[in-house]
Symmetry: C2
Subunit: 351 residues, 2 copies
């Protein structure tokens, strides 16, 4: 076993604090990774504070992991020490259900094993995430990070990137399509970049006019403030797709009215309360309201390669691990452009 | 002009009563039809009672029209006197928007002209429907009724038939798919017949066990009573498609939970109040909530030909026009298997 420094939440009410975990030596088919960077996802906060229920403590969050291979187990041919690699939201799945066989492990019938706050399939031991200096992962769940990508800015691609890329590809966004992105946070800013890289004409819809310049800098062609009711009249029936990244309460029907015939609204955020949907909004123009959950391993690799080819990466604020609790508060206040990434060198130095 | 007996609602609070309308002599490209049968759609009641607002009175309802060509205007080559023909929910559209060009006139950007309670594109004159002995319609909006179909049982295909056939085809229902049909009325019974004819394994979901036998007779493989909460546990994640024909209030999330990964719930009914949708229900298994509105002319013809080939027609109760007000009350009480059709001979005899 490998004694490993980490940051953990001891319970739902405690701030994250230094902690020590054990990582296993890589077994056959496994890869030991020295973690260099870990992105900070809003779901880290939800789970560390047990806001979704069922959290396992002590919890080491983090599922936007980038590092280098330190050691490989027997039979590992895909990776060798020194390779830049990534780990996303899950580290295992059943590998035999229809979804796993289709490369869509995120919908595994038996349930994927979450990178943290999950349980290993064999032992039931809790999994621990990327707020730590190393991790041991089965090679099938390890991604290659292309050389063209900066490692720190690649970390958020493992969750925010694939969560937005997967539905854009699955629902067929293509060059020339009119795509609205609702909300300009970690997911939203990646949706703007990725949809633009796919050739779509992107409009950012955000509450206040203050984000216009930032939206255009990210690649959006247009911007509209949703606090202005005129926006919904002006943009009625306009978009082929809406990527809705907002998890706060908002009026789905107002956004559905912006879709053209056969348009698709993709939900990525989960508001606390179910939102009313008027059937007529869907029926009268054959609109679709759909969801999408991260993405499979194959598609995540495709997304990383796509980002390298198109020069896409996350906009980040690099922080030390000691600043993680403050970062959580700033994220809750919407004060980050657009993703915090922990420099794990700061944890090594601390330890 | 052709003085024509009809039944009309004088205003939102009056029962239907004998009335006289003028039909135009067929102009170039138009067809004069002697109406033999007209199905009674629930939307006839909503509009005759102005429950959706904006109704035009006096109103002659009816958009499930079957008859025979009496006379054709100049240049009509598709039809000749004596042909069995049908008219559905609309009699005109702009013919130049993307939707019209794609043969999906029901989504015409400028708005289709409803068969009744609409206004002619040129004159703005109110349109009058099939509760009358004849109608003059542009040939492009007239359907051929295949000889194999009984004319009375074909009438409801023009609305209930195409409303269910179009989404089954558009969303790709195929042999072996597991399809649930929610509600066993005019639309629901057609959805069971059509999905079964497409080779799907159909399960009817209805409030009470009393409809089991009827559901199986229509071609369903299975039945489940939705008043029993165990139904939703037993059938969780089971269906590829749900065809939801219910316009009363019901819990969308409970039905969404019955869809498998990538499953589609098709809304055809419009409840009065918007229904809450939990984003997680769509996200966690990439489910889709969609709508669909009747169907285009080309697809309606395809549906009629499909029905003729597969021996599918509506189950009906044939009534005299004098019984229409009583029929409305029985429909509101859910007391019809499964569609009333007016024998228009009874109006001719009356007039």
């Amino acid at each position: 076993m490998l004694t490993t420094p980490a940051y953990a939440a001891a319970d739902a009410n405690s701030p994250l604090a230094p902690h020590t975990i054990e990582r296993r030596d890589p077994r056959a088919g496994e890869v030991l990774i020295d973690i260099l960077y870990c992105g900070v996802c809003h779901s880290d906060i939800h789970q560390a504070r047990d806001e979704w229920g069922g959290s396992i403590f002590p919890m080491v969050p983090g599922h936007e992991i980038v590092g280098r291979v330190a050691q490989v187990g027997e039979g590992v041919e895909r990776f060798k020490p020194g390779n830049a690699v990534g780990v996303g939201c899950f580290v295992d799945s059943c590998r035999s259900c229809a979804q796993c066989e289709a490369g869509e492990e995120q919908y595994c019938t038996k349930g994927m094993v979450a990178t943290y706050n999950g349980r290993e399939r064999d032992t039931g031991a809790p999994t621990h995430g990327g707020y730590s200096t190393r991790i041991t992962v089965k090679q099938e769940y390890v991604l290659r990070i292309p050389e063209a990508l900066p490692l720190d800015r690649a970390a958020p691609l493992l969750c925010a990137g694939i969560t937005t890329y997967s539905p854009l590809k699955h629902y067929g966004v293509k060059a020339g399509d009119r795509v609205a992105v609702v909300g300009l946070g970690g997911l939203g800013h990646m949706a703007v970049k990725l949809a633009s890289a796919l050739g779509a004409e992107v409009t950012v819809l955000s509450t206040s006019e203050s984000k216009r310049e930032a939206a255009l800098q990210l690649g959006a062609r247009d911007f509209a403030a949703t606090r202005d009711p005129a926006t919904f009249k002006q943009l009625a029936n306009r978009f082929d797709f809406i990527v809705d990244t907002v998890s706060g309460e908002h009026d789905y029907n107002a956004y559905l009215s912006l879709l053209t015939v056969d348009g698709t609204m993709i939900l990525l955020g989960i508001p606390e309360a179910p939102a009313p949907v008027a059937a007529g909004m869907l029926i009268m123009r054959r609109r679709k309201l759909v969801g999408s959950l991260i993405g499979g391993i194959r598609e995540t690799q495709e997304m990383l390669d796509f980002c390298a080819e198109h020069g896409v990466a996350s906009d980040i604020e690099l922080i030390d691990i000691a600043d993680i609790n403050e970062a959580y508060e700033r994220m809750i206040a919407g004060d980050v452009r657009y993703r915090f990434v922990i420099d794990m060198g700061s944890l090594k130095a601390e330890a």
